[in-house]
Structures are given as C-alpha cells and as structure tokens.
Subunit: 136 residues, 6 copies
C-alpha cells in the first residue's frame, strides 16, 4: 500500500456539552494541525498517489471553511460536540466528497482510503480513517 | 475507525542480557515518551472515543509505576529484557486492565484496540498494538 | 549561561480588532504550546537552574488561569489584542511574579532572565524574553 | 503486533516528468528523513523485533547507495519519476532483500511486514507498506 | 524583546566545491525548512511584532525565488558554495530588503533584528542572525 | 552571526542527591537528545561554520564516552548531581577541548561560542552556552 500525507492547520473556537468535559464546557479554542493521508494500492502513470499540490490546495480550502470560526454557531454542527475526533470525521467526509467531485484530479479516484488526524496539542491528537468508496 | 492518542513520559534505568545488545548490556537508562492510541468504530453519546482527561490520568498513573526505577530490580520483569517493544506490551496490558476495571469510565468499554508507542530517541521507537477484548 | 526549559499548553478563544488581522477578527481560538526557559549564570548547590518539578507546577497553574477561557471576556485584557506575542509577555510577567513570591523555591531567586515562547501552530510562534530583575 | 522503527536521512537531486508536477519538473532536490518500521507478531528470545543496531546500519547503507546523487542519472530509475512514494517502495524492496540475505541477523527472518516512510518536508510525507514474504 | 517566527520550506539542488564536503561534492539536493524570527523591543499599536500574514506571504515569495532550482546555475551564487549557513544569510539579506521596501507593512520598520534558520535534516540545521539596520 | 547545529543522543543511568529531586533520588535514567550549536561571525573560505561531518563525528565520540553508563559510577562526577544542565556543561567543556585540539579541523578555531542543549523529554530540556575562548 502506498500513502501520501499533507499537513495544514486551522484555528477555531468552540465549547462542549457534558460533564465529562470539565472546564472544556466553557467557550475556548484550539489550533488543529491537520494531516490527511491518502492511500492506494498502486501508483498512477506519473508515479504518484495523488497530486500533492492539489491535495494541499483542497485541504487548505476545506480548513478555510472552518478556520477562524466559532463552531458553536455553525448550523451543521448544532447539537453536536465538535470534538477532535468528530472534526476528523467532518474533514474526512469533505475530503471524500472532494475526491468524488474530481477536485484532486481524475487520478485521485483510485485513492482507496484516507486517514485524517487532528493534532490538538503536543500531548493529544485524534483521527478518523475509512474507505473512500464505502463504509470504513 | 476513530482514534484518540495521549502522550506522557517515564525515565528508567535498566540493562540487557545478550550479545546482540552490545554496549547496552551495561546498566544505562532511557526516557520513553509514551503514546497510547485508543480506537473504536463509533463515537459515544458525548462525541468522544474516550474521556481524554481520564486517559491522561490513567496513563500518568501507569507510567508512575515504572518511572524513576531500575527495571532490573522489578520482580515482575526478572529474566526478561525490558526492551522498548517489551515495555510497550507491558503498558498495553496494564491499560487494557485499566479499561476493563472501568478506570477510563464506562464508555471506554467500547474501545476495540490500542496501540502503545514508546519513543526512546529521535531515531528509534517501538510499539505494541492489539485488541482490548482478546488476541491481537 | 545555564538554561532549563519546561513545556505545557493552554487552549483559549479570542478575537482581534484591526484590519491587519483579516479573518482573525472573528471569534476563533488557539492551542498554545508554551515553553518557559529559565536562565542563570551558575548552578545552585544541587546542580540545577531551578526545581523542574516546581517550575512545571507553577507553569501549569499559570496556564490554568487562562486556559478554557474566552480571553475577550477577561477584564485585564480589555482593549488589548491578546496576540501570541502579547500573551507571551503576560505569562512572562506572571512567572516573574511567581519567582519573586518564592513559588519556585528560594534558589530560583538567582534566575536572571526568562524566555517565554508560545507555539500557535506548526508554522508560527511568538515569544517574549527579558530580565527577571528589571527592564529587558 | 510488535513494531520497531529506526530513522536516518538522505539528500538527493532529481526532476520529474509530467505537467502535474508544475515547477518540480525542473532539477531540484530533497532531504528525505526515512523511517523504517519492522513488524512481527512475537518477540524473539532476546525480547526484540529486530537488532536495532543492525537495522540502523543496514538503513544507513541502503540510503548511502542513493544519497548525494542525482537520481535522474541512476540507470535503474530511467523513465520513472523518483517521487517520494516511489522511493519509499525502492527502499522497502531493498530492505526486504537485506532481511532475506540475513543482513539483519537470523532472527529478523520473522519480520512479517515493513512500512517505509519518507518525510520530505514539515508538511508532506509518503510511504509504502507491505509484507516481507509476498504481496502486500 | 518580543519575537515572532514563521516557517515555510524550499527544495533545491546544488553541489559543493572543496574536499571538506566529501560525497556532497556531487550534485545532490536538500529540503530546507526555513524559520524566520522577527525581533523588536515593543509591540506596535495592534499588539504585534509584524503582520504574520504578510510575513508568511513574503517568506513564501522569497523561497519561491530559490525553490525547484539547481543553485549551481544561479549566476548570483557563482563561485560560492551554497551551504546551509550561506543560504541562511541570503534569505536574511532578502528579508531585510523586503522590510525596507515596506513589503511587510509600515509597522515592520521597527523590527530590529532577524534570525533565519534552515533545517536541512532531523540532525542538522544552520542559521544567520543580524540587525535589520546595520552590521550584526 | 552564523550558526550550525548538529544532533545526536546518549542513554544513561544516574540518581540525584537532595530532597528537591523527589522520586528522581532513586536510580533511574534518561535519553538525552543532544544539540550542539557552533557560532562564528564569518564563514570560512569554504563557506561553512564548521565541517559538519567532523562535528557529527566528534559529537558521537564525546557522547560515546558517557552513553550506556551509570553516571553514578563515573569518578569524575563523584559528589555531583549529573543533572541535565550539569551534563550540558560537561559536553560543552569537552567540545571546546576538542576544538582546541583541532579535532574539528583548523578552520573550527574561529568558532566563537557554543550552545549545548540536552533534550530529556518532550516537555523539558536544559542547556549551557559560553565562549570557546574564555568565560561565558
């Protein structure tokens, strides 16, 4: 299996509901350094997993939809805790949609699975991994 | 698959038996920066893999059992080389036991597998991964 | 010159006023991974710059005063942009005060200068350095 | 599953053919910080996955075959783009051959799979993983 | 003293002249992960050292002038070894010129000194630091 | 000022005397990832601060004198706590001696100052910096 990963970041505010979160129930924020790993069995004719330039551009665009926002006010997330692992899934889903739309080029259609990791500090990170074409 | 990882460290002394270890047969030591990755298929009702605060507390307690010790004098390890990969398994087993005892909260019972990584320097690290509920 | 550094982190929400900040004028947030470097000319009788355990405890306490908060609502910061470099100075001042109060032990009185660095992402960080006993 | 990883690096020049590469079609270069992960189900009698000293020596030798070279002039790579992911496979294949020759010692024959990762910058990396004994 | 640092990277080919360089006398290449630290005594009215967005943009542009090139063919560097420390100075000089031209905004005129660091691998890096307004 | 840094590591056992050390009074150990920064005002005729290959070789040799040892049994350190900052000074002194002996080549005689940093974990590090030719 071949893999290529790219990294970018976003900075957001949010709060959590539930006693388990302790002080994080208050409005606070996070820098998420986001890694997306693209996986496929064989390289394409150019010798790549995915056009890394396009992958970076698409990741930047996806993170730009969330960065510099208070996620508590994003209608799509109403009633949900925007935890690190939850956001990893959000970005996973949006990257899968981008691949299907062809935003990463026609060759990226052969990408089989993704892993999205959100590094929230030097001591904690979360991720979601799954198949591009169906259930994980 | 969703994952959450937390990091802490321990500092120990030990020696190894066996010509393969060369100079490491003498009493020396290591800082192990320890990462534990918790994995499960779905998030719980709070939107998390595991209570990250509890995970950090339990990891700190587990590492506290080993840190600032000469592992050559720990009866449980008698006759064994406490290599990086061996210690990764020790911490894996203890974290599995902690999950089963409920130390990470009732929701952590849904954690399916763990990966424990011990970073011993900037150029070497070892890990053990396996299922929480049975053989790896 | 001898130096010792310790690291911890905080997670906050804030917004900035001023066109220069572009999208960061909206409410967002950050994880700051905070390094404090303590400097002195000579080691104390124990062979240390500062009691590293106490340094970690005091840093954790100082960051706990700010973490999981919306800094826009902290009266002390009213009318100020809580930028990375501004917050580095805030933590510098509070650490200096802690040293003077003796929170880091009597030996820490010999610490001559500090450097406080706030890492806000994998591509940006800011710091403030100055003397403990007077102007930088 | 037990794993051990070691890290070293190489510095090479190369160019790529294909519009997808944009400015990277010109002769340029890269530092690749290379991680090799060795995986096996059980530890050997010494309590290790692989002799880490030998693993480092073999990795250094393998990277020495490529480092400080213009890969455009290496006959073996004629007509191929020596992308990060392609080179990960090259090093994977050479490490598998080294294991089979016994360069990592007789115990290393039990290594089941490898993952080779080439870190090309702070924001991009690629890898190849597969079984030692057959197709990935 | 307040500081702000930003990071980006470039990928270049080059060779060195002189026996001291050993195998690096052959054409090879490097990824340089480049950090630029801006320093000034006081913050500006917005509470910043420099407009971090502009600093990133200018750094990207400066690195773009060198990236994806064979530095052996750059007339400006003829007869010079483009070592890590030499290139740190080149980028320092160009960033100073950019500040003086006003590319980082009028407030950046108060920046007193810079440190430019080029990380060439996980085990080696070089830098140049000096004053913006005169000799270092 | 030009700087070049190189990195290597050592693994040692030791214990500390003094209540301030708490549990670290027991025999334990550490991995120290060691960075040595060489500084000089001007580059030599080859365009370098120091022969990086020689610098790496000398650092490896110096660390080899201490690695895989119990520092409590090193006569030179009798009655001293081998703390991170103390060991930074030990390596500083030995590197200065190596420079004066010519181990880093004749050009290294122009190196003005050094900074030696010992990273003991992901959350703590210590250093010593001083002039090569006299008091810091």
């Amino acid at each position: 299996m071949y893999c290529v990963s790219v990294r970018d970041h976003m900075m957001i505010a949010h709060s959590f509901k539930g006693e388990v979160f302790g002080p994080a129930q208050a409005l606070h924020g996070a820098t998420y350094v986001v890694d997306v790993e693209f996986r496929r069995r064989d390289l394409d004719a150019d010798g790549i997993v995915v056009d890394i330039g396009r992958a970076c551009d698409v990741l930047r665009r996806l993170l730009g939809e969330l960065s510099y926002r208070n996620l508590d006010e994003v209608p799509e997330f109403a009633g949900r805790n925007t935890t690190t692992e939850f956001l990893a899934r959000v970005i996973f889903d949006r990257m899968v949609a981008a691949i299907r739309r062809g935003d990463l080029g026609p060759g990226a259609g052969a990408v089989e699975s993704l892993r999205v990791t959100l590094n929230e500090s030097h001591v904690a990170w979360g991720s979601y991994e799954g198949r591009v074409g169906g259930p994980s």
